[in-house]
């Protein structure tokens, strides 16, 4: 039998709890779809939130959950920045690479056509910055065309190990738009030891040389270090060294090593613990660049339309946060 009093019960129970708390109200028998519609209508007019109707019992939250997207800094909102993996092969085989890149890794190139289309759709979808990464993008013979397709539309950052700025690749670098492109070069330490230990002998010297070259060519250079979490407290000598290379402090990026890819240790990063940064590879759309080779963070195989992928990432992020908030509500005590 339909319980016609559920509205009265809802008003009374919701009024007796604090904002954000949930109440349950039996709805009696009836068509589940209709019951959801009825309680949803009540919630819509009274500014409350229907959590679920299960076995004809409604769970309603007093007030509305805060919008998780509104709580993020503007540049953290998923879809504000778009990452693209240009390729997965690399001239290095770093022992902590989250993308499992190496000279033996298949290229899996995104390609100029898709990058051009993604860049175009990105601007329309509200993206304000493009980031190209790999693998090592300078292994691609058309890297300057890929970059041009991006810088023509939006400010762009190109991640590289900085070791290949010679010959035709240096010429390609020189053709890139200095006013729209920043280079982000990987360097892990102020001296060769630590860097070379993870990335290969001689790689530190060549990376430093690459930083100097990029600077000399007039590019803005960011330097990004990947460090085990326990080493992130000994940074001052590294900052001092980067200062000596002319890298602005705001362009000195320190990232904690993630337990992803071939890394044996590092931070455990899951969809629940990561604020997403929409990431495109040749295989699909991923939650975050640190997990672009991991099925657990694959969002969809469909790269297009890009706005649909961004919408889906935002939807899932909102859903995860709502679930986390609800869990905190249900288990408030240690």
């Amino acid at each position: 039998m339909v319980n016609q009093r559920w509205v009265l019960d809802l008003v009374e129970r919701v009024g007796a709890v604090a904002q954000g708390a949930t109440v349950t109200v039996p709805l009696g028998d009836g068509d589940p779809g209709q019951l959801v519609q009825n309680v949803g209508a009540w919630c819509a007019r009274t500014g409350n939130e229907l959590v679920e109707v299960r076995e004809n019992v409604a769970t309603v939250r007093r007030g509305r959950s805060p919008d998780p997207l509104a709580e993020l800094a503007p540049d953290q909102v998923p879809g504000t920045r778009l990452w693209m993996y240009t390729n997965f092969d690399c001239n290095l085989a770093c022992d902590y690479c989250c993308a499992r890149s190496s000279p033996q890794a298949p290229r899996r190139a995104l390609g100029i056509d898709r990058i051009r289309r993604l860049a175009g759709e990105a601007a329309d979808a509200g993206v304000i910055e493009l980031l190209l990464t790999g693998g090592e993008p300078f292994l691609l013979p058309d890297i300057d065309d890929l970059v041009a397709a991006c810088t023509a539309v939006l400010p762009t950052t190109l991640l590289t190990n900085g070791m290949l700025f010679r010959g035709r690749r240096l010429e390609a670098l020189r053709r890139m738009d200095r006013t729209r492109l920043a280079l982000q070069i990987s360097l892990d330490s102020a001296t060769p030891d630590l860097h070379d230990q993870h990335r290969g002998r001689g790689s530190w010297s060549r990376a430093v040389a690459g930083i100097r070259t990029a600077h000399a060519e007039g590019f803005r250079v960011r330097v990004a270090a990947t460090l085990p979490p326990e080493q992130t407290h000994q940074l001052e000598p590294f900052h001092t060294f980067l200062d000596s290379l002319g890298i602005a402090r705001e362009d000195q990026v320190i990232r904690a090593l993630a337990h992803r890819g071939v890394a044996e240790h590092g931070l455990e990063l899951t969809i629940e613990s990561l604020i997403p940064e929409v990431t495109i590879t040749a295989d699909g759309v991923y939650w975050h660049p640190v997990s672009a080779d991991h099925p657990d963070q694959l969002v969809t195989h469909d790269l297009f339309p890009l706005h649909a992928a961004i919408t889906e990432v935002r939807r899932r992020f909102t859903e995860h946060r709502a679930r986390a908030t609800a869990a905190a509500q249900w288990f408030p005590c240690a």
Binding site: Q4, R5, V7, L8, V11, E12, G15, A16, V17, A18, Q19, A21, N38, A41, W42, R45, T46, G47, R62, G63, A70
Partner: protein, 270 residues
């Protein structure tokens, strides 16, 4: 800097804490800092106002009437919600009851809310009197839940509606806020219909004693009236408190309640 103004409010729902913490934060950046004290009922709050424990009381209409009576008018209202200026009592019955107005209640049972609820008890009896119905004409089914909170919880009004559904009463008198909260006729189709709607009257206001210095009151009121529905920082508080805009008080809107309290010889204390 002068000490914060202390605002009293009755804790009729846990949300009151959220509301007043939000209000305190809003006022924190000056020029009229405030803090708040919660009371379990309006009698204690009015006592505290008269004793000087609080500077401002967020009063119901009955608490306002009692404050006026106990101070011989040496008090004033500072502001109210836009929704307070258009409060109404709705007389509802089962759909299809064929009740067409108050006069049709003769010989019927009318469920009323808490005896200290202006909207669900005191004013309904006043309106019956204006319609020519005396104590012997209508059987009053009084539901005195949450006495002391002047009907703020709404519980007695919901119980009055349940009384109608249970056929313990033929009609119920409830505030427009409760009628809105249950979704009017729309969410319980075939359950209730309004057969008489009262003239508008005023509900809550911020009350101060006449002696509170104007240079303390004015900046507080100015800041209050500046709360903006379109400001995302302000809106959650306004939504929870049930208004879109704070407005200047409209004292004419209390005339019917002053009259009702006098007619029904309602105590000026409880």
């Amino acid at each position: 800097m002068s000490k914060p103004l202390i605002v009293g409010s009755v804790a009729y729902t846990p949300n009151v804490v959220t509301i007043w913490e939000g209000m305190r934060d809003y006022f924190a950046d000056g020029p009229a800092e405030m803090d708040f004290v919660l009371f379990s009922n309006y009698a204690r709050q009015v006592d505290a106002l008269l004793e000087g424990t609080i500077d401002i009381a967020w009063n119901t209409n009955l608490a306002w009437v009692r404050t006026v009576a106990r101070t011989d008018g040496a008090c004033r209202a500072l502001a109210m919600r836009d929704t307070d200026t258009v409060f109404r009592t709705m007389f509802v019955a089962r759909s299809g009851s064929a009740l067409g107005g108050l006069e049709n209640l003769k010989g019927k049972r009318l469920a009323l809310g808490s005896k200290d609820s202006a909207q669900a008890a005191i004013l309904p009896v006043h309106f019956l009197g204006r319609a020519g119905l005396g104590p012997d004409d209508v059987e009053l089914v009084r539901i005195n839940s949450d006495v002391g909170k002047h009907g703020d919880t709404g519980r007695s009004e919901l119980d009055a509606l349940r009384a109608v559904l249970d056929e313990h009463a033929d009609a119920a008198a409830i505030g427009i806020n409760t009628w809105e909260a249950i979704g009017r006729e729309e969410l319980m189709p075939g359950a209730f219909e309004v057969f008489w709607e009262s003239p508008t009257y005023c509900h809550c206001n911020f009350t101060v004693l006449a002696g509170l210095a104007e240079d303390r009151v004015e900046p507080w009121v100015d800041k209050l009236l500046a709360m903006d529905w379109d400001d995302p920082q302000h809106r959650p508080i306004l939504e929870m408190e049930g208004l879109r805009q704070w407005v200047s008080p409209q004292l004419d809107g209390y005339a019917s309640l002053f009259e009702a309290v006098r007619e029904q010889e309602i105590s000026i204390r409880w």
